[in-house]
C-alpha cells in the first residue's frame, strides 16, 4: 500500500508522519504541495506544522495548493485522508470537514501528552480501535479550539462523527471536548493531537498512535478484497 504524505512550505511533521506510515507497514510516498499528481497513492496524510506560515488563517492558503485540489477531488471520491493538526485545519478550510479550528481559548500554546477517548471506530483511520478505548498521544497546538454551530455539533454527535474526545482535561477549549471528527463517508478524518508522535517507545508516550495508520491499511485491504470479490461475481 502507498500512503502519501504532503509537504507544504512550513510543514513540520511530514517526516514523522512518513515514519509512522512505514512502521505501520506501508510505503510512504512524499507528495509536494505544488504537484497536482498524487502518484497513485492509496491514501493521504496531511501533516502538522504551519503551512504558509499560518498566514491569514491556519490552512487557508494550503487549501488552494495544487496537491490539495487533487486531494479534495479524490477525497470526495472516497480516498482516505487523515489531517493531523495543521492538516485538520486544512481539511476544515477545504470544507471536507465541518467546523473550524480557532485560537486556544486560554491563548497559550499547549504541548503535552493528552488522553483521548476514541468515540468512533467506524472510520478508515480508527477501525483497529475499540469504541470507548482510551489512548495517550501528544497534543501541540496554538489554534486547536474546535468550533461549529450548535446544529452542526448536534448532527456530528447524532451521526457518530465525533471520532475522538479529550478526556482528563481539554487542552484548548474545543466545544464538546472534540479532538477529531470525520466526514459522512468516514474516509476523511481530522485530528488535532498527533498520532504520528506516538508510534515508538523511544520517542512517544505510547504506541497508541500507530492504530490510525494500521487502520487505514485494514480499510484499504478490505476495500481491495471487496472489489475483487465483487469482480468475481461479474
Amino acid at each position: 500500500m502507498r500512503i502519501g504524505v504532503v509537504t507544504f512550505p512550513g510543514s513540520l511533521d511530514d517526516g514523522d508522519a512518513a515514519r509512522a506510515v512505514r512502521l505501520a507497514g506501508a510505503d510512504a510516498v512524499r507528495l509536494w504541495h505544488g504537484d497536482p499528481d498524487l502518484h497513485n497513492v492509496d491514501a493521504v496524510v496531511l501533516p502538522g506544522g504551519f503551512s504558509y506560515g499560518d498566514y491569514l488563517r491556519c490552512g487557508a492558503i494550503a487549501r488552494f495548493a495544487p496537491a490539495m485540489e487533487s486531494i479534495i477531488d479524490a477525497a470526495r471520491g472516497g480516498l482516505p485522508v487523515l489531517g493531523i493538526c495543521n492538516g485538520f485545519q486544512i481539511l476544515c478550510e477545504a470544507h471536507l470537514l465541518p467546523g473550524a479550528l480557532t485560537r486556544n481559548q486560554h491563548l497559550h500554546f499547549r504541548n503535552r501528552d493528552q488522553w483521548l477517548r476514541v468515540e468512533s471506530a467506524d472510520t478508515a483511520w480508527t477501525n483497529t480501535f475499540q469504541p470507548g478505548q482510551e489512548i495517550l498521544i501528544p497534543v501541540k497546538n496554538g489554534e486547536g479550539c474546535y468550533v461549529a454551530d450548535q446544529r452542526t455539533l448536534d448532527a456530528l454527535e447524532a451521526e457518530g462523527r465525533v471520532v475522538a474526545r479529550y478526556i482528563r482535561g481539554n487542552p484548548n477549549g474545543s466545544q464538546r471536548d472534540i479532538a477529531a471528527v470525520t466526514n459522512e463517508a468516514g474516509n476523511v478524518v481530522g485530528i488535532m493531537p498527533h498520532p504520528e508522535h506516538a508510534v515508538e517507545a523511544l520517542t512517544g508516550p505510547s504506541l497508541d498512535g500507530l492504530g490510525f495508520f494500521t487502520s487505514v491499511l485494514r480499510a484499504l485491504a478490505g476495500a481491495t478484497a471487496g472489489a475483487s470479490h465483487a469482480g468475481g461475481h461479474q
Binding site: 491569514l56 488563517r57 487557508a60 492558503i61 488552494f64 476544515c92 478550510e93 465541518p98 467546523g99 473550524a100 480557532t102 485560537r103 486556544n104 481559548q105 486560554h106 491563548l107 468550533v147 461549529a148 454551530d149 477549549g173
Partner: protein
Amino acid sequence: MARVVVDVMLKPEILDPQGQAVANALPRLGVTDVSSVRIGRRIEIEFTGEPDLDRAREIADKLLANPVIEDFDISVVEDVKAEVA
C-alpha cells in the same frame, strides 16, 4: 485609483479570546469604561483597473474570510490619494 476594503470580523457567537485579553488589559491603562473588545482584520485590495466589487466579494468569500466563523463587509475607497492626503 480605487481601493476595495474588506473588513473581516469573527461572528458574534464565536468567542474572541484575543479581544478578551485586550479588554482585560485596559484597566491597567486606567480605562474602566470599556465593556467589550473584539478584534478583526482589515484587508485592502487594489485592482489594476476599475474596482470590481463582485470579484472582491468572491475573493473574500473564498479566501479572506472563513464563513464558518467569520463575517465580512466590503467597501470602496474612491480616491486613495485624497485619503492619504
